[in-house]
Each structure stands twice: as structure tokens, then as C-alpha cells.
């Protein structure tokens, strides 16, 4: 049974309202942090995605490219949408999220109308044990390594990490920058394109698997949403291709519970030491 949108943590925390001046605003929820009061970049992108579809003839964000200029504070923000070309298939816009300190995030948004029609070609989902046999960050908060604060995000997004990629949580980083996890909202809210924008940046940094346990601040993130996800757990895989010079990339693929690829993301981040 579909939940009432207004009652889920995600829908409340990403709600966008029209302000008296005709613009858009939101209240960033401090509970979606990655530690140290820093809000998760995927969560911020979901807020922006909601603004994008509100001002578009199309229902879904299909391509979102974001530059993270500075970390915005929790609390009120404005969302300025500059419409671009718009047609029957897709529409472009440029969105700026700003708090009292100024612009924090600029996003190029492409909206369109997605379906769950079958793929002509789809990258297969990797073989991962069922969620019950995976490692829950939320259930093992006491295992957090020294200096690593378990983020509020992990209470909102239920992540069950494939044990094969969870060695870092036990002091045994694999040395391969890959993480895989089943993911869903903790309150059972089903995934949709806006949720996938959050999932596409919700795993711990892949650098954890290299034994570098610090925060990896996102510089630029692109998320592609490819199909309407089926209800249930999503499988999220993150992989880095190159770590050097203080930079790291993270490359996500996300499959829904039917094994269908529904989203991809890539980000450039600063690598923790």
C-alpha cells in the first residue's frame, strides 16, 4: 500500500514550497547529515530534484549535474530555477540552492518522463547475499572506527553492506575501492526517482575500503535516473577508478528489487588522507 507522501521522513525533509514572492524554498533537515553537521550531497540533490520537477512539464529528474560550492547549513534555503529549453521529450533547467551564506549548490537538471518498460540492454546486477545476511551500519554504530561519526543519514537510509565489501568496518580494509549495499528508507517509504538521487550518494566513501576513514567531500556529482524503480530494496554499488593527487572518483550503479538498472552516478571528491 502506498504511504502518504507527507508522512515519510524523506518526503518531509525534501519538501519544497512556493514562497510569497513566487520563488521556491525548502527547510534542510539536520537529520540527513554525514557527520559533523555536514548534510549529505545526495539528500541536497533530492531537494533540488523536487524543485526541478515542480517547474517542469515532465515528472522525473533524469540527469542532474551538481557542483558543490560549499556545505549549506540546515534550515531555510531558497531554490532558484532558471528554465532552459523545454520540449515533448525533455526539459532543461539550472537550479541554485542558497542559504543565508549564499549559493551552496548549482545544478543542471534534465527532466523527462520515465517508465518501467523493459530494457533493451541492462548491465546485470551483481550477486550479493540477501539483506538479512549483510552488515547494517545503523545496527553497529558502536563499531565505528575512532574519529568516524556515524551519520544521521544511516538512520534514515537503511544500508546493508555486502560483507565482502565491509572489511573496513572490522579494521580489515579490502584494498579494493568497492562498496555494495542493499538500500531502502528506514521507514519503508518506497524508492522513486527522487529517492534515487539520495541513494546515488548514500554509501560510505569507497576510500573506507582503502583504509582512509575520513570524509570525502563531493566536488561535482552527476546522477542519471534510468527507470522507475520497483518497490523494495535497491542494490547500490560504488566503485572508484582512480585515486591520486588528493582526488577520488565514485561511480555508482543502482538496481531495483527486480534486478533492473535504475540509476547511475559519478562524482569527483576530495580524497581523505
Amino acid at each position: 500500500m502506498p504511504q502518504n507522501e507527507q508522512t515519510t521522513a524523506f518526503d518531509t525533509a525534501t519538501a519544497v514550497r512556493r514562497t510569497e514572492g513566487g520563488g521556491l524554498g525548502a527547510d534542510l533537515d539536520p537529520g540527513w547529515d554525514v557527520g559533523g553537521g555536514i548534510l549529505n550531497g545526495g539528500y541536497l540533490l533530492s531537494v533540488v530534484g523536487r524543485a526541478a520537477v515542480l517547474e517542469s512539464p515532465h515528472a522525473h529528474p533524469v540527469a542532474m549535474s551538481a557542483s558543490y560550492l560549499r556545505a549549506p547549513a540546515a534550515g531555510p534555503v531558497t531554490l532558484t530555477v532558471e528554465p532552459g529549453p523545454s520540449g515533448r521529450t525533455l526539459a532543461h533547467s539550472l537550479i541554485t540552492l542558497a542559504d543565508a551564506g549564499g549559493p551552496a549548490l548549482t545544478v543542471q537538471a534534465t527532466t523527462a518522463t520515465l517508465t518501467s518498460a523493459p530494457s533493451d540492454y541492462g548491465h546485470p546486477m551483481p550477486d550479493v547475499p540477501p539483506a538479512e545476511e549483510c552488515f547494517s551500519i545503523a545496527e553497529h554504530r558502536d563499531l565505528a572506527p575512532p574519529g568516524v561519526q556515524v551519520p544521521g543519514l544511516s538512520l534514515k537510509v537503511d544500508s546493508r553492506i555486502d560483507i565482502a565489501t565491509a572489511g573496513w568496518a572490522f579494521g580489515q580494509p579490502s584494498g579494493e575501492p568497492v562498496l555494495r549495499a542493499w538500500m531502502r528508507f528506514a521507514d519503508g517509504r518506497e524508492p522513486d526517482p527522487l529517492a534515487l538521487l539520495t541513494f546515488a550518494d548514500a554509501l560510505p566513501p569507497t576510500s573506507f575500503a582503502m583504509g582512509a576513514m575520513g570524509w570525502a567531500p563531493t566536488v561535482q556529482l552527476q546522477v542519471l535516473v534510468r527507470a522507475l524503480p520497483a518497490p523494495g530494496w535497491c542494490l547500490v554499488e560504488a566503485r572508484s577508478s582512480e585515486i591520486s593527487g588528493g582526488w577520488i572518483d565514485e561511480d555508482y550503479r543502482i538496481w531495483d528489487s527486480t534486478g533492473r538498472l535504475v540509476a547511475q552516478s559519478r562524482q569527483l571528491a576530495r580524497a581523505p588522507r
Copy 2:
């Protein structure tokens, strides 16, 4: 021996000049087309990248996210650079490329200073036969399938396609959306970060490998440049993860002649029928 920058086809075709009003301008070269007078999206991104570094304290484009609003005509364009936050490590800007018809391309640019220092981790280069044993599009223009115009781009960028991924050129598409090729400029101009922006969109569409031989117009493209490439051939691999609903993604990794991963890109494009 380094070439004189002004004498190479790439540097001439991507030259950016300061206009009398203090803005930036360029002349798009009709020779960098992908067929039908449509200019290659990577070429356009190189022009924008040159504008980005011209207005930045940093020397190299490291993350470029572009929305392709409409195909610009060859000839004069303006480049409007809106500077964003700028620091010791990186600088942000937003750049609009416009022709007489209006904005054609908006790009979020992150610039920084790259090195060729060794990787902490690098995705290994796949095993591909040497360039001399690969398939040259330029040398086999007469093999082009009916309706496919060999692009001007293929005369500027010398691409030698791994035979294992070139079946489509002989009427035998592999059914796996993967292409690999050695790539360098035809005039011997060595690769650099600006060149990698072009290489990151210079292979034929991966949909060719699925037997769909039409043009796949780019909607959004993100390129990450990860290191200064060594002289010589680059190896470029493109792969799609999901083809459905008229959409296709293309995911590039680029290695330099030493086997070091130097760039990545991902684009969402409209899939040819």
C-alpha cells in the same frame, strides 16, 4: 619536441579570444562534426574548457558537466563565464556557449592543477592489440554502413578501434554496447587535459555495437580529468549500462600510453532507433 600550439588543428579549432567588450569568443570549426553538420560534443567541451582555465587561477579542467541545449552552428560563438567560489585547491565557474540562435551549451566547470604524480589506486587498462592491428575508421570510410556519414571528427582524431569491438563496421554488431580504441590527434598534437575533453566523447556511439547505426545526440555529459596524460596514444573505452525508453548512457575510461587512467566521462544521450 612540443609542437607550436598555434599550428595544430585542435589548438586552432578550440582557440578562445578576448573580445572588445571584455568577454570571450571563439570560432567553431565545421571540420569537427559527427555528420550532418552537427559538431562533436567533446569538441565543444574543449572550447568551453579553454574558456574555463582562461578565467581561473588554475590550469586544468578537472570536472566539466555540460547540458547540451541545442546544436550550435559552426562559426562565431560567445563564451560567458560566471565565476564561482575559488580557492587554493580548486575553482568553480558556470559557462554558457551561445551562437546567434542563443545558448547552446551550459557547463559547470571545476578547475584545479593536475600533475602526473603516481596513482594511489588506478583501474587497470584493458588488454588491446597495438594500434597498427586495430581498425581505422578514417582509412575505411568506404565501409560506412548505408545512411552513416563518416564524420569530419574521424579525420581530426585518429581512432583505431579494437577489432573485438568493431564488428558493427562489418555488419556484425557484437550485441554488447562496448567500444575500445587507441586515440590521438591525426597531426601528432600530444594529449593534454583539454584534448581529453574531446576524446571523452569521440568514439562512435556504443549503440553501433547493438546494430543501431544512427546518431545518439548527447543530452548531458560529465567529464573528469584525473591526471596529465603522457605523450602518445590514449586508450579510450566506452560502455553502456542501460538502454531503454529511447535513452542510452555512455561511460568512458581513458588511459594514457603508460597505462595510467587519465580521464572518465559519462553521458546520457537519446538512443538511435
